[in-house]
Symmetry: D2
């Protein structure tokens, strides 16, 4: 155990900010030192609950000298600026995904981040889910031989508000981006993207020219492929499955149930209650593990956290998918 807990500055106190605040407060190796939110009430409420000082001014936090690590959970448009300032200040930062919706801003920031030597992690929390992490470890250990096909099914319980859809960057940059990172968790070197999108049910998507349904196929440099199946709604609850198919077998991640109980009667048997409702519940362990890993990273210990370049790669794939689905073409990508 290190001499003192890692003092966190948290920026943004929305839904995800709350998750991280709770994780920081619960982790014996960390504490919440400063909390910033332009809606200062959010910062104050969070500080009252989990500790730390509240401010509406990020600067105050950055110059306080009392922050060892930054956790960025503010809206996407603020991310690159905050990463930039964290890097300048030499403060390790864990930034929620996506880095930005505009790849140009990401590319512009990239050399500075990579030259800085400051740890920058991107919040692809699913890499830390015990099930996905276990499958990857077993694949790496050779349990199913060479990985040939990866299938990711990712469906949200219901579509987001129409307003949100309008600023989300579209389904690929907003939702599939998690799956792009998951694909690269197993097969980092993707070289080709094909995506098919449809707008079948969501009025918000229709209004904003977005898709609510998408299937994406990625090809890696080795020829191994990934299929990603997305929908913005799912009657059965949060649908998060994965199948890694290899030369010697396969590993599958099932949906997370909410009960050990099943019912059998005259017309159906072994019926179970619906799956867990959404990501805060499904990925609760993943968020906590993500923070633990980032703490190690910030302390200079070995870490497996997704990097700035991983965040950039996911965005490149999202852009390529958007273009593929819109223009009905296959898009080659270079993630180097």
């Amino acid at each position: 155990m290190p001499a003192h807990p890692l003092r966190f500055g948290l920026i943004g106190t929305g839904r995800i900010g709350q998750v991280h605040a709770a994780s920081i407060a619960a982790d014996p190796g960390a504490e919440l030192a400063w909390i910033a939110d332009v809606f200062v009430e959010g910062a104050r409420t969070t500080a009252a609950r989990y500790g730390g000082k509240a401010t509406d001014d990020v600067n105050e936090l950055l110059v306080s000298g009392a922050v060892d690590a930054l956790l960025v959970a503010s809206p996407t448009p603020t991310h690159t600026d905050l990463i930039s300032r964290a890097v300048e200040a030499g403060i390790p930062v864990l930034c929620e995904k996506p880095i930005d919706l505009d790849i140009d801003r990401v590319e512009e920031l990239r050399p500075r981040v990579n030259a800085s030597g400051v740890a920058v992690a991107i919040g692809f929390n699913r890499r830390f889910d015990p099930a996905f992490a276990s499958v990857r470890a077993r694949v790496e250990a050779g349990e199913i031989g060479a990985l040939e096909q990866l299938a990711i099914i990712s469906r949200d319980p219901s579509a987001p508000p129409a307003d949100y859809v309008g600023v989300s960057g579209g389904i690929f940059r907003d939702m599939t981006i998690h799956d792009f990172d998951m694909a690269r968790f197993f097969l980092p070197d993707i070289v080709e993207v094909t995506a098919v999108g449809s707008t079948l049910f969501d009025a918000g998507a229709r209004t904003h020219g977005d898709f609510d349904t998408a299937t994406t196929v990625l090809r890696s440099s080795t020829g191994a492929t990934v299929s990603i199946t997305n929908s913005r709604h799912s009657a059965v609850g949060y649908d998060q499955r994965l199948e890694a198919f290899g030369a010697r077998g396969m590993l599958q991640v099932a949906n997370a149930g909410t009960s050990l109980v099943s019912f059998s009667g005259a017309s159906i048997v072994e019926a179970r209650p619906p799956y867990q409702d959404f990501f805060l519940e499904r990925y609760a362990e993943a968020y906590a593990a993500e923070l633990r890993e980032f703490i190690k990273l910030a302390r200079g210990e070995a870490s497996t956290s997704p990097s700035f370049d991983d965040g950039r790669a996911a965005l490149i794939l999202a852009d390529a998918a958007q273009r593929s689905a819109t223009e009905h073409i296959v898009v080659a990508v270079d993630l180097a």
Copy 2:
């Protein structure tokens, strides 16, 4: 392949008789030579479909000289006499269970059967079910270490007609008798029987002083135990499960589904259609395998068919269970 097919004499052309007639006709090593039924029309219809001569007189069949093996599927009260005559005639016989409802008649017949050297097999077909047979083979192979607890769940879809209940000998001699034999398939040397019976729903059982619900616990000489759970009805369909629990793991037999399809919706997930309806469907493979094994036995080749003594042991256990449930006592048994 032997020079000529085994010529079967079939006695009784009811539901089970039909199953055996079809198995004999379909088996390249067997043929249906004679069919006897006191309702001669049943014999004639069966002969027309599967071959063989029809008669209402069992004697004609026994003295024909054209019968190499006997299959007894007539009502229970005829069994001991037919076994006796088959043994006298030196004709191997496969007789449906139970041998009789009266243990005295079984004991009286026993020395003659065992002295005769004629093969007598009792129709405990479940030993030939691929699932149960596989579990037993794996237990024998040591896959779960020493067998400590065996659990059998056996529930019929619905209660038999009240008239039948009246002549059935009671739930233990009529229904549980299959489970007693299955128990002895794994743990032959049972020394103690405790049974708890209830009459909860079946008017026929109430009328005839029978139980419709029963739980029986058997103890073997090694201390390993068996629990048998019975009901005369089951809303979910034919409920036939088994669990062999040993020092190093367990083997479980699930119910047989009727479809590979499952449904998931807003209130339930992974719901499947009901189980197979009843024994003719569930044990179709077992009946065919039972016949194949008996053919080997009749030809003098190695065989695993349940013997006359197995039939006697099951009846002794049924009598003990009946006594235990009626008198509320634990009953010691000696199957030697």
Copy 3:
């Protein structure tokens, strides 16, 4: 029951020919009248087992006047000619898939078939599988609301011999063609095809410039999409799954197991034996049901058999997939 059984002429006595011969012989509404094979020994052996006259000359069969229906199970290059002659002779024909590997020959034959009024069915047997047929019926009945995404997983246990790969027409025309028809069973009006192919493990595929691994995405005119996942090998056995995802739920077809037994021990729990090995076992019921439906069709009764146009559509999709995978483009198709 009609006055007399439908007299079948069977052409081709290979693996599939044998399946059909057995189905015809077992169906009380049909009989095997003539069997033709250029390897006349195959015809003779089949006739000896299932009845009928044997010949090496298809002509003899066609002019016999003793054939009410034709079953074409000979090699693919003979199909169009035999369909043509059957149509000319006014004999209903069930022809194995594919109609041909060359769409031009199919298009050339098409007007004659459709003008003839003679029943021509193509052997997409999977439509008759109880599980797939049940899912489609339930989708049609609205159980899951509007169908939005269909996922088909179809992996063979092992790659075919290299020689066969060379003449197979490639994975899309040879293997995926079943899945294209299954896709159209649910969503007939496909308008766009994207396929990604890889050659990862099979030397035969490498030699002949074929893929051994493929993912195909189809878009229907309604925007509903289909993903098809193929591999020429599968360590777990024949992998045949389907998922129909709709606005109100989903229906899933699981793989067919070989046993009701599961094992639980110190390191794994609920482990079951491998899946059924291959299509003759997995689709045995489908082949029988296919024949029953074709018999109805040949008798002029209502039928749901896949038509010549269904066979043509599947080939168009296969051609489009081949082009998409080879040229890395998205291909628009018009199945009208």
Copy 4:
């Protein structure tokens, strides 16, 4: 939310004491005020972690005037005395099971408890497990019709130390007692007990004349029955299952897995990692819910906590089972 948190006095800081201390500390409606343990270091360490004052003298705690509710997690022989003193002091008490190993002491205490009007709850935490509680609620709601057969499987991962076995009161009073209470959660009015015990593998049990394997059958006054299957070891992990079988269907509680991942390969398919290891993990939610319910009870709000009489009934059943298994008799009981 009440004006102030309920101030708890905790007695005993062993394994279960720690669970309760954590639950009290985490519950916003409660706080840890005093902690007593004869090993005062345990009390001090617990106080340092969760708050409260530490003492080795229970008296100090009881007369402090700062304790609104008592949680008794000290060794079984201390239970009746502590309950007695809590009742005298008018302090609601949640006491770990069993009340005592000697029914005479329980009977002696009973009139005082029931006359006092002070809330006394016994720690049968499994009633609060979400799965078991859900099954009971659904049974009560009539979802499976009349409850006819209840099956409880309860196997510990491994046998306790031999020393513990010697003072445990035997398998029925120590382990099955939880299952007796679960049985009565569904069917309170048990009238007959039959138990079969064996000593198959555990040297500690052999030394102390205890059983390591047991099957118990209970009959309720309605004729509905309960079977309880126990073992002191289980290679597959903590085995905790329940099946409620009724006239219209059944509800089943499966074992709790540790992962959503399954493996399929050439020799096995759908194999999952072992079950949760033991009760602290399996029943974590149950312990927390138990405390929440007790807080309501202590505050005089409605409660479903198991009562002193439930604790007495479980012990009577345990005594009856012990006698049944030892003397090989069926034992009638009267829980009134």
